[in-house]
Amino acid sequence: MDELDILKQDWKRQEASLPKLSYDDIYKMLWKRSSSIVKWIFIISIIELFLSTLLSIMFADKAYWDEMERLHLINFTYGFYIVSYAITFYFIYKFYRNYRKISTTDDASTLMKNILKTRRTVKIYIAYVLISTGFSAIIISYFSIKNHRATLQVEETAKYTFETIDWIKFIILGLIALAIFLTLIWLFYRLIYGILLRKLKRNYKELSKLEM
């Protein structure tokens, strides 16, 4: 007889020492607030989706559109916004569908898989927003430089040189700002993953170790 069988014999006897809750005790618990990670993942994901959508529309005021007009980027901007709204809606729809799939009545492996999938949707969306923001910043900067130079008077050579250095400074500062911004987002992500998903990921890996 192995060790576990000795334990199994004692297991039934353990019931005598277990706490006993009354009907009322249990009834009261039904209305307590849950603190499950799924709830937190939902709240955090919604905040992230909202903030990143906000980021992509925040700068689009009238001055922005006028500027785009001046830079001959109006068609590009329209196209860019249509595509990015379509992509945003697609991600929100996907997030919602994945979230709805999370069910505690599934087996443990499916449940973990669905939670990780839901988080992954948001992660990819954030990456998409960051990349597309960077991409459009580069395009706009490029056209700003190009159109600016075209309208300059060549007679003021000194000013022209000064402006070029200014642009270089601008680009360097821009890159530094972008690097800081990305690092902060990365740290933010590490934090959320550390807090919420470390245990889940470890367990999922443990569970699927032999499932090849």
Partner: protein
């Protein structure tokens, strides 16, 4: 209608609460965490209850939701473990029913089980609850062969904890 559902749920849970308490004992180390986990499991069971079909046994359905909560949804609070609490939630062994050697062995076994990882604890729990390998594999979402392989590994792990 809602009242009736509440009544049916609470009556069922009251009757089968031992299952939840046993899971709490395996997964937590102090009374406060035990109560916390019990409450979270109750909330999750209640949320899932409308989807519960009478054709499955309430207890079988409970194993799944309760273990899912303990393994996946529940976040251990970072509270320090109070030593005086540990004794109130650890497994009690009735000394008069065993000889010294068995009693010692049981104590070591329960301590060893507590040191296992979350998945291994679930395997041991379901095994102790007399669940078949088919049921274990369905609850955890792995194949039956895999459940057996994992169980054998747990047995080896326990042996090595007991005889270092």
């Amino acid at each position: 209608m809602e009242k009736e559902l509440e009544h049916r749920f609470v009556t069922n849970l009251e009757k089968h609460q031992n299952i939840v308490h046993k899971i709490c004992r395996i997964y937590t180390n102090d009374q406060e965490s035990h109560n916390d986990l019990f409450q979270e499991i109750t909330i999750q069971l209640w949320k899932a209850f409308p989807k519960f079909r009478g054709d499955a046994k309430f207890s079988t359905w409970m194993y799944r939701v309760a273990l899912n909560t303990a393994i996946t949804l529940y976040r251990k609070s970072k509270r320090g473990i109070k030593t005086q609490d540990i004794d109130t939630v650890s497994f009690k062994i009735k000394a008069d029913e065993y000889n010294d050697e068995t009693e010692q062995q049981l104590k070591l076994m329960y301590t060893a089980v507590k040191q296992l990882n979350d998945i291994d604890k679930a395997l041991v729990f379901l095994y102790l609850e007399d669940q078949s390998y088919k049921e274990i594999s369905e609850t955890l979402g792995i194949t039956e062969v895999n459940a057996r392989v994992k169980m054998n590994r747990v047995k080896t792990k326990l042996k090595s904890i007991l005889n270092p």
